[in-house]
């Protein structure tokens, strides 16, 4: 085998552009770069617009980031100023640290707020530790755990499984059975759709304004983790922390203790928008949310930029099968939020449900499974 020949000089700027895109967080695969080079060659190129069109068609920038993409293009190929991309993607260039806890545990911690912009964050991010007192499980939680396995949202899986009765006659199997009866169809075999539990993602706000509910919410998350097959739980405040492994422990007290140790930003400030944006930047977490029922457990009192929160919620809504906001401030079904941020995200939510107490929360989550058919927005 021989080494590939060095890159022709003419191809270099195009390959370098792919590198530039990657540096700005655009996912660009090698096959796309190859397609880009081929496309440029195919088109001539007679003009720089040919190159631009080829770039958009083959490198497929996400629609929300097209302005940023075009600014980078202009900077790279036309030598225009680099200020535009920073403006277009504000907040996106922010450093994002992924911390894995010592000991190889699977906790995943993301810095939501960069150290540089510490105004609201540094006093708030006191990295408080929490202790939870051991107490017997609340009655509603016990009932929830019993009922949840049957009543969590489901989805039809791909493929059919054998069944005693079902809408689809399994003719292949019936055919074989008929062979045992000299080719006479005596007994029909059936198949039906495999039904699976839909993936659930629970995002719990643990900031100061949610202080009263934090413990109850975690107890609820633990009950849910015990009942659900596919669940991811993350907490957010000034950081985004994955607590799923902690909640897998059988005993509530030990699970809460471990979660309390894992989460470092108890009762700090809230930056919902930045937390959700951080969530959406990690492909693995995006993978969790895709096609899942995503439940955000938060009062929606955003201290940061409401626009970022709205944009992140919009994207999350597109990823998720259903996006549900459980708000402890919500008192009943007719409740409408007062804050601008919460009101702005309303059109993207599939449901806005009350979460004032464990009992309401349990009831609302169990009710999610009843929702079938087409998507309906909350607003």
């Amino acid at each position: 085998m021989s080494w590939p020949p060095p890159l022709p000089r003419a191809a270099r700027p195009f390959v370098a552009f792919a590198g530039l895109l990657r540096a700005h967080g655009f996912p660009v695969a090698p096959e796309q770069v190859v397609a880009f080079l081929e496309a440029v060659e195919l088109l001539g190129p007679r003009h720089v617009t040919d190159i631009r069109r080829a770039a958009i068609a083959t490198l497929a920038p996400p629609r929300e980031r097209i302005d940023e993409f075009l600014a980078l293009f202009a900077a790279h190929f036309l030598g225009q100023g680099r200020t535009a991309p920073a403006e277009a993607g504000e907040g996106e260039a922010e450093p994002l640290r992924v911390q894995e806890e010592a000991g190889g545990e699977e906790e995943l911690m993301l810095e939501v707020v960069g150290e540089s912009k510490g105004e609201a964050a540094s006093p708030a991010e006191a990295l408080g530790l929490r202790r939870f007192a051991s107490r017997p499980a609340a009655r509603p939680l016990e009932r929830f755990r019993r009922e949840a396995p049957r009543r969590l949202p489901r989805r039809r899986g791909a493929g059919l499984v054998r069944a005693k009765r079902g809408p689809v006659v399994d003719l292949a199997r019936s055919l074989r059975r008929a062979a045992a009866h000299e080719g006479e169809l005596v007994e029909l075999a059936f198949r039906r759709r495999r039904v699976r539990q839909r993936r659930l993602v629970l995002l719990i706000d643990v900031s100061g304004s949610m202080k009263e509910q934090s413990e109850a919410n975690l107890r609820f998350a633990h009950a849910l983790a015990r009942a659900a097959e596919r669940l991811e739980v993350l907490t957010f405040g000034t950081r985004l922390t994955r607590v799923t492994p902690a909640l897998r422990l059988r005993s509530v007290d030990r699970a809460l203790e471990r979660a309390a140790r894992t989460v470092r930003d108890w009762d700090g400030g809230t930056r919902i928008g930045e937390a959700l944006a951080a969530f959406l930047r990690v492909p693995r977490l995006v993978g969790f949310a895709r096609g899942a029922v995503v439940i955000v457990l938060s009062d929606g009192l955003e201290r940061g930029d409401p626009e970022l929160m709205v944009r992140s919620v919009e994207r999350l809504a597109r990823l998720a099968h259903r996006l549900v906001w459980a708000n402890p401030l919500a008192s009943g079904p007719g409740w409408r939020p007062e804050t601008a941020a919460m009101r702005a995200v309303l059109p993207y939510l599939d449901a806005l449900v009350p979460a004032g107490s464990i009992a309401t929360l349990c009831r609302e989550v169990l009710a999610l499974a009843r929702d079938r058919g087409e998507r309906r927005r909350a607003a």
Partner: protein, 292 residues
């Protein structure tokens, strides 16, 4: 270097021209993306809001290539059997009965029900495969499709692996109700179809509804563009614009005065009960802006 000729089209401009002759107005970006998809042998992924003409683009493309359009409409719960092939078991059973002692080949073509993907594989030169509204399908199906689109081969256990003799022309559309998997986007040539500009839309209206006066077409295009900026549950698509122009034209021909014609035919363009009162309130100012 001179551009290559693919499918008899010397470049994006030639494709745009051919599409226009087929009554589809494509902007240069779309024409470039479509031509590149043909030239590179990659699927074309069209994303955009409902009603911007994604499916129409596929139909027009099939038309100018002189090919049959094979359409696979996706929905939640679609599985490989709906997309690929099924065995016609009732027919097999009947054949067994009829045959008596004669040996029967149960896996002959006669018992194979072709679904769109298999059709595209077996007749790559005769069809354009349209995989419509892929965002409605489940992730499993998306993953399956990814595999299909990368090597254009499928295996039928009873018959062995079937591979396309050449890459078929494939167009995927998505309304973007959910985000598609990165890998799928990577494999395709991508284009985001936007709503056309008012000038472009006026041309589309006149192309599709030949009898409509230019003045009406332009006013409708402007009004529709304005309506799309409002927070509507269901913003009007291009088809609605064409119908509105026709409706307004009919009413004006019947003696209805200009703004009244727009008002009376509003049901043609706004098709959601929540949107209707909202738009009615603001219609006068909207029309004032749209007036030539």
């Amino acid at each position: 270097m001179a551009a290559r000729t693919v499918y008899g089209l010397s470049g994006p401009e030639a494709l745009a021209k051919a599409l226009e002759d087929a009554f589809y107005l494509a902007d240069p970006e779309l024409a470039t993306a479509a031509w590149l998809a043909l030239a590179l042998g990659k699927p074309l992924l069209l994303e955009g809001a409902p009603g911007v003409g994604k499916t129409e683009a596929a139909k027009a493309l099939a038309g100018i290539l002189g090919r049959r359009l094979v359409r696979l409409q996706c929905y939640e719960g679609i599985d490989a059997a709906h997309a690929l092939y099924e065995w016609n078991h009732p027919r097999q059973l009947l054949e067994l009965r009829r045959a008596g002692d004669r040996p029967v080949d149960l896996w002959a073509d006669a018992f194979l029900i072709e679904r769109p993907l298999l059709t595209a594989l077996r007749h790559p030169r005769e069809v354009v495969l349209l995989i419509d509204e892929i965002d409605r399908a489940d992730q499993e199906f998306e993953a399956f499709l990814l595999e299909f689109l990368s090597d254009f081969s499928i295996s039928i256990p009873e018959r062995g692996t079937l591979k396309a003799s050449e890459r078929p022309v494939v167009i995927l559309t998505s309304n973007r109700t959910r985000e598609l998997h990165e890998a799928l986007r990577r494999r395709c040539v991508y284009h985001w179809i936007d709503y056309p500009s008012p000038e472009q839309e006026a041309r589309i209206v006149m192309l599709r509804a030949a009898g409509v006066a230019e003045r009406t077409a332009k006013a409708v295009a402007r009004a529709v563009a304005r309506l799309r900026q409002e927070p509507l549950v269901k913003p009007p698509g291009i088809a609605e614009a064409v119908e509105w122009a026709q409706a307004v034209d009919l009413l004006i021909a019947g003696g209805t005065p200009w703004p009244e014609a727009f008002r009376r035919s509003l049901g043609v363009v706004i098709k959601d009960e929540e949107d209707l009162p909202y738009v009615k309130e603001r219609l006068d100012s909207l029309l004032a802006e749209a007036r030539p």
